[in-house]
């Protein structure tokens, strides 16, 4: 029988109809192996059906359940109650929405607005190499793939952008810059000039101050600051 924890959640609430914001406290008796999405769902089921939060895959693949928990941006589908108690050395947790886009309600932010930034970098192959006439697949050597495969794990959860010291007034953000760099390093991409134009635009890579918070909070363990530094180093 897994250990049970008596935890207190102070959750930032926001009602878009009245435009009122407040902090609401919930007491939950939760098993240590519950994830925070499960805890939020339990609150909906047992205490307060009006509490809004977002999630989709709940397997750390879609990036839609990002929140700030006791100051740290993370995926609520990944964090177990027992790990949170150990990591933050407390049974009281403050939950806030991510700060990268306007809040729609409670813990739900406007991801469409957040994604507008990602779209600026054209997160697809702009000009892919032509298909092989024989119908063969395009082969990428393991050595080439090794350079950037880590960066392909990014799910655009915006945890890095929330943690970034540079903010987002003048910087596209770590994940957005990474989305561009992945394609820049991809040998199938031929639009290198357009990609480097995006990389070095006014709100581009050099607005990063290498505080490395992005690498620390990344739920997919990507060393984001390493890739951003490659851009500043002039590898492309």
């Amino acid at each position: 029988m897994p250990k049970s924890y008596s935890i207190t959640l102070d959750i930032n609430r926001y009602d878009p109809d009245t435009r009122l914001s407040w902090i609401q406290t919930y007491q939950v008796e939760a098993s240590g192996i519950l994830r925070f999405v499960d805890v939020l769902r339990r609150i909906n089921d047992e205490q307060d059906p009006t509490l809004a939060w977002s999630s989709s895959c709940e397997h750390a693949q879609c990036g839609s359940c990002g929140i700030i928990l006791n100051g740290k941006p993370l995926l609520s589908c990944e964090l177990l109650v027992k790990d949170a108690v150990g990591q933050f050395n407390t049974h009281r947790f403050k939950l806030r929405p991510l700060t990268i886009a306007p809040v729609l309600r409670d813990l739900v932010v406007d991801l469409e607005k957040a994604y507008d930034r990602v779209h600026k970098t054209k997160p697809y192959l702009i000009k892919p190499v032509p298909y092989q006439p024989e119908g063969d697949e395009y082969r990428i050597s393991p050595k080439t793939l090794e350079i950037y495969s880590e960066a392909t794990r990014c799910i655009n959860c915006f945890c890095c952008a929330t943690a970034c010291i540079s903010g987002y007034h003048h910087f596209l953000g770590p994940n957005v810059t990474l989305a561009n760099m992945v394609r820049l390093m991809d040998p199938r991409e031929r639009a290198k000039k357009e990609r480097t134009d995006i990389l070095y635009r006014e709100d581009g890579v050099y607005r990063c101050h290498t505080s490395k918070a992005c690498s620390f909070v990344c739920p997919k363990d990507i060393d984001v600051s390493h890739f951003l530094a490659l851009g500043k180093e002039g590898r492309f």
């Binding site: 100051g71 740290k72 003048h170 290498t210 620390f216 500043k232 002039g234």
Partner: protein, 275 residues
């Protein structure tokens, strides 16, 4: 190897001491130590900018040496001496961390924990040396030899960075920030060391005026002040731009920074040339 082991045993103790401060503990847990170091870099930079203006003002008193000497006599007390020494802390921190960032961003040095460790060790050694020299107050050194070595080191550092960064497509001010930063690492560290070697070198108008009449020192100070003001101005702009949305307010503040730095440069250069 043994030494390295001892260092790694001390580190957790130091970190646990620092984490007793709630604000440090909060950011160490949620953003990690490099994030706090970045904040420290900014705060140290702003402290140095404040000191720079005070320094330009006190040096401007050299136009009437009697006023300068009177001010220096007023400031020759244990509290001011301590503050002068304490300035070595943000100076060493900002310089060495700047060096670490240049190595990380431009020279692919990714062993960042080792770099931070060496930054702290070298910083502490430097601060202790400055403190020792301040107490000693009587160290003699040849002005030309000291500054030739320091300027040579600065030129080499900035040329290495220039060679690495100039061909990249980063913005020109950003590149100049790195080049001037590399130039100033030996210069500012050397400057403070030199001023603390002997009380008279930094506090006696006759000694300063005699040194300033040396064309080599004049030239070195001329370049130094231009680089310093550019570096300070762009640094302040970078911090402001993180918090203020593009628009009239940001433009106004940027103009203000440019004007303040330009006026400071004008007075600084005029002073160097007049002495």
């Amino acid at each position: 190897m043994e030494k390295a082991l001892r260092i790694t045993k001390i580190e957790p103790y130091i970190i646990s001491l620092m984490e007793r401060f709630p604000i440090l503990s909060y950011y160490a847990t949620t953003r990690a130590w490099p994030f706090l170091i970045s904040w420290g870099h900014r705060l140290a930079g702003l402290t140095l900018v404040g000191y720079m203006f005070a320094h330009i003002y006190t040096l401007s008193l050299l136009s009437t040496p009697a006023d300068f000497d009177a001010d220096m006599r007023l400031l020759h007390n244990p509290v001011f001496s301590f503050l002068e020494w304490a300035l070595a802390i943000p100076l060493a921190f900002h310089s060495l961390n700047g060096g670490r960032l240049i190595l990380y961003e431009l020279f692919h040095v990714r062993e960042d924990e080792i770099m931070i460790r060496w930054m702290v060790i070298l910083g502490l050694i430097y601060i202790l040396i400055v403190g020792f020299l301040s107490i000693e107050e009587g160290t003699q050194v040849s002005v030309n030899v000291f500054w030739s070595i320091t300027v040579a080191m600065s030129l080499i550092a900035s040329l290495i960075v220039f060679n690495k960064v100039w061909g990249t497509r980063n913005s020109i001010p950003w590149k100049l920030q790195r080049i001037t930063g590399a130039y100033m690492i030996p210069m500012v560290l050397g400057h403070m060391l030199f001023m603390h070697m002997n009380y008279l070198t930094g506090h006696d108008s006759k000694t300063i005026l005699l040194r300033m009449q040396n064309p080599f020192i004049k030239g070195a100070d001329f370049v130094f002040i231009i680089f310093l003001l550019f570096h300070a101005g762009y640094g302040i702009f970078s911090v402001i731009a993180d918090y203020i949305r593009p628009g009239p307010l940001l433009k106004s503040l940027t103009c203000l920074v440019v004007i303040v730095m330009a006026i400071s440069a004008y007075y600084g250069i005029r002073l160097i040339m007049a002495l």
